[in-house]
């Protein structure tokens, strides 16, 4: 099929970006979206032009490295699907597709569709862990975790750290990402000891970085490839208030 593309090109953080038009005449419906971009890049390289820089690695929806806005939607039109898992059969012959980077103040553009998401690592560094050194752990079955607790913790832990929730949010809030880690650990008995400190430290870090405030629009869950629930945000707020009351 024929696909028309309008792709964001930007040399670096300090220059202005613009949309460039391209047309691909031989797109196969079975191609993945990123393979479609590969074929564009092959064509550009052969014409002596700079290929479009975009992020990706595993191409199976788990590493969280890919992610672009496709027709204004983070990761594109399919629900619970990362950019790399999207296939061209979701589009029609002759479609025009807008491809832009995840945009947020906290995600400066590196080049073209690549952005800097290191803020997400900073939030985890502030407290997204259980403080246990190698060698300190007790026998695994001495910590019982009910099936429900474990499954529910897993649902939160499934976040792939892609940043789509932030790119989608009109406030560029990192609430869904941050709360997923806070509630995963708060749901487990091992994680409860540090829960107050963890929550306050992570929320403070989120605010120090350029992420905005959550105003409960719930757009984030809709775009999240892992369907991380906004209930995590409610749990984060609960943990936060509990911590503040204690202090």
């Amino acid at each position: 099929m024929v696909i028309h593309l309008k792709i964001w090109r930007q040399k670096n953080q300090h220059t202005k970006g613009y949309l460039e038009s391209y047309t691909l005449n031989e797109v196969d419906a079975e191609m993945s979206f990123l393979e479609m971009l590969d074929s564009l890049n092959l064509k550009l390289a052969k014409q002596g032009e700079r290929p479009v820089e975009f992020d990706h690695d595993c191409r199976e929806g788990i590493c969280g490295q890919c992610g672009v806005m496709i027709n204004g939607i983070a990761h594109g039109p399919l629900k619970n699907t990362s950019t790399c898992q999207l296939h061209m059969r979701s589009f029609k012959d002759g479609d025009t597709i807008y491809v832009e980077p995840f945009k947020a103040k906290a995600f400066p553009v590196i080049r073209d569709l690549k952005v800097d998401r290191s803020g997400l690592d900073e939030i985890i560094a502030a407290g997204g862990y259980i403080s246990v050194n190698t060698g300190q752990a007790p026998e695994a079955n001495s910590i019982l975790v009910s099936h429900e607790e474990s499954e529910s913790a897993f649902d939160s832990a499934a976040c792939i750290g892609c940043g789509a929730c932030i790119a989608t949010c009109k406030n560029a809030s990192a609430a869904l990402f941050t709360s997923a880690k806070i509630s995963q650990l708060a749901k487990l008995p091992q994680g409860q000891k540090e829960s107050s400190k963890r929550t306050v430290d992570m929320v403070n870090r989120m605010e120090e970085l350029d992420f905005g405030h959550c105003t409960n629009t719930e757009a984030c869950q809709v775009e999240c490839p892992q369907d991380i629930s906004v209930l995590n945000i409610a749990q984060m707020n609960y943990e936060y208030n509990k911590a503040k009351l204690k202090s």
């Binding site: 590969d38 820089e53 862990y129 190698t134 910590i143």
Partner: protein, 640 residues
């Protein structure tokens, strides 16, 4: 000239070796540790766990990865589970049994002492992961759950739904980030190691390229740990991530580190088939599907009917037929080879006739759709996302795909290469798995290497380095290495040829897949070697890399990786050609039993090859580490 190889295996009975080692290993006192700097390349399970554990002990760590966050290392993609000897199921598991299963699974081509230690340290990993908050599968009572995995008869696999690698990696990543916060780890994400720096024969640093700016950097340390994962991506189509590479270990090899058993690659039986020439990777479907799915092909060649219209008596459930006792759960090497046999005989299914059916019709009839959905729901929906096909209604189409490198840098019992101060851990080394890796053993190996072994063995080395001054990055060895790296990068850009690195990669991958993949023959390997040499010549003049060196440039990144693949590919073929036997995943057509199974030759080939760089990719030097079996008697593997 062939060198003698010393694996430095400690004295004592098999079960006492590791305790003896720990009792005698040299230590570094806490106040001296902060004077020592370590470079850890890789943030997968091996790298992140080693970096975090060593930082907790007080060493200063520089941690490198090419992704934009340490959490994205390809360990994240492991689905099925991680093995550990807990015997929670009371089904007769023991350290010895796990050791034996691993050794046998590897077709008796690994070191007894290392394999035993893997089993011995396995239980602690589960303790550690649980303490970190890894949400493993649980019984309603709250106790940990297990499942069983291909090639063994006990249930020792722990899992987090279909995302075990992700959850274990997040545990290790979080431990790493905690040390970063405490100032003990400095992170270098989006950095690629391009050379190893030796001073007086010892590993003292690396040259890395900042992938966002293109700047070349020098980093010095008292020791270097490579945890850079597997190189199965050399086949181009594989279950690995796009960025997985051999560059770090290959460049260390060219600085003198031995490469062991490079041709031993596990081809996984259940990945999605290639659907067109544009395809960039093959997605793995967890092996656990083989617990309930039945594998078959039509009995007739070039069958045109859709699967439902093919009656039972015209289907060949070939695994059940050939291996009645293991059936669809036969080990990976055997299942993959059997699939290839059917596909080569013209019985493949799908538009490119390159797949076999994995059918859940019987399972759905027996247990109901809900039970199957509960067991494999996420895999069925992943299958549908990729192929657009509903596997509740129609059998899946699967095919074998390059998956895991059993080979890698040669290491001794300390996981140190033959270069003092250079360690290799995780999939980057060759230890433990022999000629075929058992399912769920490699997450384990990466974790055990990083959490439990490297912290001891590094100290043993570092104890003698306290008095040695930290190397200076102005040293001529750094200068030379940097100049070499820059020269190579400029050469890539300046050629302005007609073929992109990716096009070359596809070609070399295809040669390997056809001639050094599931089955190999003398004739095929010789042809492959000639083809690779030609392609490598062309790579010197006809490469097209747009853009600049000192800039972000993913085409240039690829050019470096493919350049290393071009050399490694030949070594793989040479290794396969040298080994005149079949063992595990290495199947030489000339060496098979009467019924077509792998035929080992223990008399002549009970050794690990440890190839040495000679300065020319076509004439490597073969060193041999003999494998001695003191505690088990190698037998002919049988899964019939």
């Amino acid at each position: 000239m062939e060198k003698e190889i010393h694996a430095n295996i400690p004295e004592g009975d098999l079960k006492d070796k590791w305790s003896n080692y720990k009792a005698k290993a040299k230590l570094v006192s806490p106040n001296n540790r902060k004077k020592l700097d370590l470079i850890v390349v890789g943030t997968g399970l091996a790298g992140a766990s080693a970096a975090a554990s060593l930082a907790e002990m007080g060493y200063n760590i520089k941690s490198f990865c090419f992704q934009d966050s340490p959490r994205r290392a390809h360990s994240v993609a492991a689905q099925g589970g991680v093995n550990a000897m807990k015997n929670y199921q009371n089904d007769g598991d023991s350290v010895f049994r796990m050791f034996y299963d691993t050794l046998k699974g590897g077709d008796f081509r690994s070191r007894e002492a290392n394999t035993y230690r893997l089993a011995e340290c396995s239980a602690s990993l589960i303790d550690q992961a649980v303490a970190q908050g890894v949400p493993f599968g649980r019984e309603y009572s709250g106790y940990l759950r297990n499942r069983s995995f291909g090639g063994v008869q006990v249930s020792r696999t722990f899992y987090s739904r279909g995302q075990t690698g992700q959850q274990l990696l997040l545990g290790a990543y979080q431990a790493l980030m905690r040390q970063k916060e405490q100032g003990k780890v400095k992170l270098y994400t989006r950095h690629e190691m391009l050379d190893l720096v030796l001073i007086d024969g010892k590993a003292k640093g690396i040259i890395a390229r900042n992938l966002d700016t293109g700047k070349i950097e020098r980093h010095a340390a008292h020791a270097v740990i490579l945890a850079t994962g597997g190189f199965g991506k050399i086949y181009y189509l594989s279950t690995l991530a796009m960025g997985c590479n051999a560059s770090a270990i290959w460049r260390a090899h060219k600085k003198g580190a031995f490469m062991a058993n490079p041709s031993w690659t596990q081809i996984h039986p259940t990945s999605l088939p290639q659907s067109g020439p544009y395809q960039s990777k093959l997605t793995l479907m967890s092996e656990s599907l083989r617990n309930d799915g039945r594998i078959w092909v039509p009995k007739a060649k070039d069958e045109k009917r859709p699967p439902h219209d093919i009656p039972e008596n015209e289907r060949d459930y070939y695994l059940e037929r050939k291996y009645p006792s293991f059936g669809n759960l036969a080990p990976r090497d055997i299942s993959s080879r059997a699939a290839k046999e059917q596909i080569d005989a013209g019985k493949g299914v799908g538009p490119l006739k390159n797949a076999v059916y994995l059918d859940f019709e019987h399972a759905i009839k027996e247990y109901g759709k809900d039970v199957i959905a509960e067991r494999y729901g996420n895999l069925f929906s992943m299958y549908e996302k990729i192929t657009g096909i509903n596997a509740y209604k129609e059998p899946m189409k699967i095919s074998p795909s390059a998956h895991f490198s059993m080979g890698g840098l040669w290491v001794d019992y300390d996981l140190m290469t033959n270069i003092p101060g250079l360690f290799a851990i995780g999939e980057a080394n060759f230890s433990d798995h022999g000629a075929n890796r058992l399912g769920a053993n490699s997450l384990l190996q990466a974790c055990v290497d990083g959490y439990y072994i490297a912290p001891y063995t590094l100290q043993n080395y570092l104890a003698d380095q306290i008095q040695v001054e930290k190397p200076d990055i102005k040293h001529s060895a750094f200068e030379q290495a940097e100049a070499d790296v820059k020269e190579q990068l400029n050469h890539f850009i300046q050629q302005k040829g007609n073929k992109t690195a990716e096009e070359f990669h596809r070609e070399v991958g295809k040669i390997l897949y056809d001639k050094c993949g599931l089955s190999r023959s003398e004739e095929g390997l010789k042809t492959a070697i000639a083809q690779i040499q030609n392609l490598r010549e062309e790579y010197k003049t006809n490469l097209l890399v747009p853009g600049d060196v000192e800039d972000i440039n993913s085409e240039l990144e690829r050019a470096g990786r493919v350049s290393d693949y071009m050399e490694l590919a030949e070594l793989m073929c040479i290794d396969a050609l040298n080994r005149n036997e079949s063992c595990g995943a290495h199947y030489r057509e000339e060496f098979q039993t009467e019924d077509g199974e792998a035929k080992r030759n223990d008399k002549d080939f009970a050794y690990s090859s440890a190839w040495e760089w000679s300065g020319d990719a076509s004439s490597p030097i073969l060193n041999k580490e003999p494998l001695k079996f003191e505690y088990v008697q190698p037998t002919q593997r049988s899964y019939k």
